[in-house]
């Protein structure tokens, strides 16, 4: 058992990488080669698909739009979740348990249920087709998650830290920013990671709330797929590029991913 232990994770990783390999391989093939028949690796290696994406503004602005609203969403979610998580972890107050459960129920709301009402709400307040609209809409499921993760991390910090700072005469906000936040830096990192992740991968709401100015890359891809017919190579190249920011973010938080899950509390 011990000796064959490496076999299971290896097989699993190979299974995970196969579709990604195929996507990458497709992105380096010409349309002729793709439609011509089955080839295991690109015979006519080409970078045309990538060149098109980096020169055509509808394509690369899609990436910029996505990154903007994901960034704004992560900042808002973690900023509002921090004090709330602190309150849930440290204090008892009227309706705290109900409030916590109510927050979590929003994580259970199917986006399909909210797509149409969100469209009407954000049109009514004049935010339709802006980055901020998507960022705000995604807080629906990211804020509960961030509160949940941060609450776990904050609860693992002994309360004596707060009390010592109070006795030493630190004003609360200075203690919170100068001492407390660095203490739970790992937790903040993990919360940011999850907010980034769920905002980056979501499409239904992002697509419903934008038309031109803030159109996310995912929506550019689906619209291209339906209009320009069968440009699989281009689609594969665009898909491959969407993996890059995620891979980048994972690399930075790799040491905290496992820890972040363990400290989260249902």
């Amino acid at each position: 058992m011990r000796r064959a232990g490496w076999l299971i994770p290896t097989l699993y990783i190979v299974f995970l990488l196969l579709p990604i390999y195929w996507l990458l391989a497709m992105s380096f093939k010409t349309t002729n080669e793709i439609l011509g028949g089955f080839t295991l690796w690109p015979r006519d290696f080409t970078l045309d698909n990538y060149a098109k994406i980096f020169t055509d503004s509808t394509w690369y602005s899609g990436y910029i739009n996505s990154l903007i609203y994901v960034g704004v969403n992560t900042a808002i979610s973690v900023a509002v979740a921090l004090p709330a998580a602190y309150a849930f972890s440290r204090y008892r107050f009227l309706g705290d348990k109900h409030l916590f459960f109510w927050l979590l129920t929003n994580r259970m709301a199917p986006p399909a249920v909210f797509a149409l009402p969100f469209f009407q709400l954000y049109s009514a307040v004049g935010l339709f087709d802006t980055h901020i609209a998507v960022a705000l809409a995604h807080t629906l499921f990211n804020v509960p998650l961030a509160v949940w993760i941060l609450e776990g991390f904050i609860s693992s910090v002994p309360k004596e830290l707060d009390e010592t700072a109070y006795v030493d005469g630190y004003p609360f906000w200075r203690f919170f920013i100068r001492i407390f936040m660095p203490t739970i830096a790992a937790g903040i990192g993990v919360a940011c990671f999850f907010c980034f992740m769920f905002s980056w991968v979501e499409l239904l709401l992002a697509k419903t709330l934008t038309s031109v100015a803030a159109k996310p890359i995912a929506a550019v891809m689906t619209r291209t797929a339906s209009t320009s017919g069968y440009e699989l190579g281009l689609l594969a190249a665009a898909g491959s590029l969407t993996i890059v920011p995620g891979a980048f973010v994972i690399y930075f938080v790799r040491n905290y991913i496992a820890k972040g899950f363990a400290l989260g509390r249902v």
Binding site: F93, A109, P110, L116, L140, V143, V201, M221, G239
Partner: protein
Amino acid sequence: MRKTANQKAWFFVLPVVSLVAFNAIVPLMTVVNYSVQETFGDNVFFWAGVQWFEQVLRSDRFHAALLRQLMFTGTILAIEIPLGLVIALAMPRKGPWVSVCLVLMALPLLIPWNVVGAMWNILALPDIGLLGYGVNALGFEYNYTRQPGSAWATVIVMDVWHWTSLVVLLCYAGLMSIPDAYYQAAKVDGARPWAVFRYIQLPKLKRVLTIAILLRFMDSFMVYTEAVVLTGGGPGNSTTFLSIDLVKIALGQFDLGPAAAMSIVYFLIVLTMSWIFYTLMMRNEEI
């Protein structure tokens, strides 16, 4: 942890409450409004009572979609949870390979859902995709755009590919939090691997497994983008899950009343099942 009573803590949660209230309560009330009214356009609405709810709860279409949804969620839970547990148990605990494993395994989680769909679409194309071509070359007849069986298999394998890593990461985190002393004690007692798993690891994993099952249940019940991009709900209606059906009714046919009533029933199902499961699992724990 002992907590102090402090009503001023409400000021700390106020930003979260107002933000989520804006995002959750206003749209939810919109849905509730639609669900009890009839409209003929031009923003003219009539009271319709529970008519839409009756219609939805009696419609064969809703029953069929719900059944497909339950089958899908049941299948992926039955595969992903044990598989994730086994992989987490087999993963290295220390050394340089830990980071490599974690980074590679987390990769599917960060790919936009429509790209996941598109990726599997390309992979499973019967004539030029690696999977489709391979399966056909092995002598099986496989075409996910024509055969419901193939479409189902592809959707399930795609979901296993996409989400098993979440279970692995959760279980792995749970395993890492077991102190070494437990294993040493087991060794002194001469416990077999199965006993170590059954009496040390499994009880310690209960909490993370609860989280894993809850998250996978909720998210698989809401599955939309990947399945739509891969199969479009077809062939026929064979992979039309609840979300897909809902979007078809709401945005495709613009039947606001039935769609809203269905939304509420749908949301209540997710909520009730999560609550029951959560209460059952947490019965003996103190929070």
